[in-house]
Amino acid sequence: MKRKGHGFKQSMVKLLGSGKNQDLRIALFCILLSLFAGSLLLLSLGKNPLIAYKSILQGAGFWPKARYAGHKSMLTDFLSLLNYATPMVFASLSVAVALRCGLFNICVPGMMIFSGFLATVLVGYSGLPSFGARFLVIIVGIVGGSFIGSVIGYLKFKFNTNEVVVSIMFNYIISYVVSFFIQTKYIDPTTRQSLKIGDNARLTLVDKVIGNLKIEIPLVLPLAILVVVGLWFLFARSRLGFELKAVGMNRKASRYAGVDVGRTMVISMIISGALAGLAGVSYYLGCYASIQPKVLPSLGFDAIAVALLGNSSPVGCLFASLLVMTISNGTTYMSSTLNVLREIASLITGILLLFSACSAFFKVQANRWAQELEDEYIVNMREAPHE
């Protein structure tokens, strides 16, 4: 009965099979697999993967570097990581909320630009006192994003349009319309980007001098963590979350049970949009202070894979965002210390995103193997006494 590959299957099932924390185990497996694939890539370039990964950790502020430039330390690196991770947390949560309701929101980049542009134009150049300005930026971000979300949701609900197609189209419409306004009205001729916003409206405190360090402080990070907790509560304990998940599992059955499926989908797209809007303002008015015309932020697309790696759960998305941004931030330092091209360095981020998008496949495969082994086990039990 013992066939080739039997032992392999058995250990894979033990590792990834159903049971406690299966989703977590699979996520960790995806991460390890991508690190392994990254090692092969680095080895083929003649670099030591261990040193490379160490330098990634150094770049991200988890491990001390050999030398620091003036006003820099491990803390500044780490805070810079958090600064760049904040929009990713919002963006991946945005994708996750829609996914839970069975919708694929691929419009996160478009929503980010839209809300970022609105906030830039309405508040960014206003010169309002900083507290009010920042508060307004956040509000505009939420409203802008949820507006786009509600349009997509409404089209789905009213005309049953495919939300993926609408989302893709919206990405381009928004990107080009916003570019038109930036290039005709708000262009900075030297940088070819939109005019820099005032520091009063910026959601990240930059070059804040504390001691002898110049650090960045992401002001909306606490909000991101609050949102993670809020969404956890929504999915685990609330009526709306119950309906959202039900619609995501099976629309027909939800309708039969009396759930207003259309309304639930619109609400989920509004929440998803609001989160994408927050990602937009924390990206364009936080990490950066201007908008590059005609470029969709790749962070919005990466967020899809991050949400999958985080298994669409709020806490999972938080950690997945931190991980992906660690690698993405750390590779900058790696490329300079190990003298590999920056493109190669970002390839490692790409590999991680690729493998995390495959997590569902690993789950299905592990469950299938578990079933096969169980079949064989029962047969063997019956045959054992004869041998």
């Binding site: 304990r237 119950f242 039900a246 599992m249 027909k252 059955a253 009396g258 079933q371 079949d375 029962i378």
Partner: protein
């Protein structure tokens, strides 16, 4: 000696196991050339598994299959086909928008060379062969018809032709009469007889005793994976067969007190419903259901019965006509208000509509009340209430589940899934209960439980609307029978004034009464 020569298929000590169940336990039997051999048993008795091994879908864990005196290991349906074995499945495997001939030759198209080089399908030759086979066995199939235009009974004959075209000698029929009306069943049995007289060997998988009695020569009875025995059909009564099949004495009749109707609970007037393709599926239908009445709608699948039920539950919009429930017009009411007014609905598709398979049992048992106390207060859910209320229903309705309320519904058996739906819908305390195909695919024990529940509800003074394709079920339970054909009600009469055959004729649209 002669008997032995005629043996065509022989199963020797066949055992097949699936996780947690032994589907076939040491089964030995032989089938003779040129006979109609019936395999009798309840759902899950192992009939289909045994035949699937002959057809190459599974391989036995132990034992061997002998064909024409030679041990054969059949690994795939293609190999079975080469050994002249054919099977008509319960669900037909036909391409809807292709012609009869195209379906039959699919996978073994006769090829001719055009201009000596270009190979292309020789449709003409295939068509001639299909036509002559159809005539030889009296199948009456036009090889040029498109599958989606022909009725179910003809599609079944296409499946038969498919086997004959592949020179099958052993023909396996898996529950062939489940989708047919009494008249269609009659003509199918006729076809089966003519196939036998033409020298074919027929294996009939079924749980319908009358058919076995009428057409089969011998029958094997399976019960929970074991072979009970092989009998000559003329030496055994249907009652004996039934008790051997179930493993204990059964009363096939439902005990039912005389009905006493109360007020009109549901009044449907001139109802017309269109489906998504703008086709009129329900055409000017009117009927009343009283308290304490079981109104059964009979009909061949796809004649608008399910759409009537959907329209009553609010799942399909009503184009014309009115629905009055408890004196109130609910024609354009939303789904949830209807549930709250007291309409329970056990839908046809339990897995895709009636349940959320990935939610746990507790959530599913509260699927229509989760938003109300004690489950939910101010938009916040209380897990404890789900468990507490769920446990009560699990106990009361004897729902078998591995992990109580935390069991994922997907992992439960079909019978228990159905019990969960019935439990939920009854617990709503509704005045009107709509049952669509409530016992499809369940075993005799579970069917009996559900039938008893339905009668019990009627006796409590509830109004019950039953939609079923099983004529037996309708004849057994109904106080009033309505028959639908082509979206119209053909007749609506007191059940005691109709025989099964008359209902069958109405189902075929033979009679029409306004």
């Amino acid at each position: 000696m002669q008997e032995k020569d005629r043996t065509l298929v022989e199963f020797r000590h066949i055992t097949k196991r699936f996780p947690k169940i032994v589907a076939n336990d040491d089964i030995s039997l032989s089938i003779r050339k040129g006979e109609i051999f019936a395999l009798l048993g309840e759902n899950g008795a192992g009939k289909s598994t045994l035949m699937s091994m002959l057809f190459g879908l599974y391989e036995p864990d132990e034992g061997e299959i002998f064909l024409r005196g030679k041990a054969e290991h059949i690994h795939s349906p293609a190999e079975a086909s080469k050994l002249n074995i054919g099977m008509v499945h319960q669900h037909f495997k036909l391409v809807q928008n292709q012609s009869v001939t195209e379906n039959i030759i699919l996978g073994m198209e006769p090829v001719k060379k055009k201009l000596g080089v270009l190979s292309c399908v020789d449709k003409k030759r295939a068509q001639e062969r299909v036509r002559s086979l159809s005539q030889q066995y009296g199948l009456d199939v036009n090889p040029q018809d498109i599958i989606e235009d022909i009725p179910v009974s003809v599609r079944q004959r296409v499946e038969i032709l498919k086997m004959l075209y592949r020179n099958a000698e052993i023909l396996i029929f898996d529950e062939p009469t489940a989708v047919l009306t009494p008249q269609e069943i009659e003509s199918l049995l006729e076809v089966i007889r003519s196939l036998r007289d033409g020298g074919k060997t027929i294996i009939l998988i079924t749980h319908k005793l009358d058919e076995v009695k009428e057409v089969a020569d011998r029958c094997a009875i399976l019960c929970r994976g074991k072979l009970v025995g092989v009998y000559n059909v003329k030496d055994i009564s249907t009652r004996q067969m039934a008790s051997l099949m179930v493993g204990y004495e059964v009363s096939l009749d439902v005990e039912k007190a005389r009905h006493s109707f109360g007020n009109v609970a549901l009044e449907v007037k001139n109802l017309s419903v269109f489906d998504n393709d703008e086709i009129k599926v329900v055409d000017n239908v009117s009927f009343d259901v009283h308290e304490g009445e079981i109104l059964a709608i009979a009909g061949v699948a796809g004649n608008g019965q399910v759409e009537v039920a959907d329209a009553l539950a609010g799942l399909l919009p009503v184009r014309q006509g009115t629905i009055v429930f408890e004196g109130k017009d609910i024609t354009s009411l939303d789904i949830r208000p209807r549930i709250e007014m007291g309409i329970s609905y056990i839908p046809e598709d339990r897995q895709d509509v009636g349940l959320l398979l990935d939610y746990n049992l507790g959530n599913n048992l509260a699927l229509k009340t989760y938003y109300k106390p004690p489950y939910c207060k101010n938009g916040i859910l209380y897990e404890n209430s789900f468990t507490k209320e769920g446990d009560k229903l699990i106990k009361q309705f004897d729902i078998r589940c591995s992990d109580g309320c935390a069991t994922t519904v997907r992992s439960m058996s079909g019978g228990n899934q159905q019990k969960a739906i019935v439990a939920r819908e009854i617990s709503l305390g509704s005045k009107l209960l709509i049952f669509v195909q409530p016992t499809r695919g369940l075993d005799i024990g579970a069917i009996k439980t559900i039938h008893d529940r339905i009668i019990e509800l009627r006796d409590q003074g509830k109004a019950v609307l039953l939609v079923s394709l099983e004529l037996d079920e309708i004849m057994e339970l109904a106080d009033t029978i309505a028959v639908m054909y082509n979206g119209k009600i053909q007749t609506i009469k007191d059940a005691s004034t109709l025989t099964a055959n008359q209902v069958g004729e109405y189902m075929m649209g033979v009679h029409h009464e306004a």
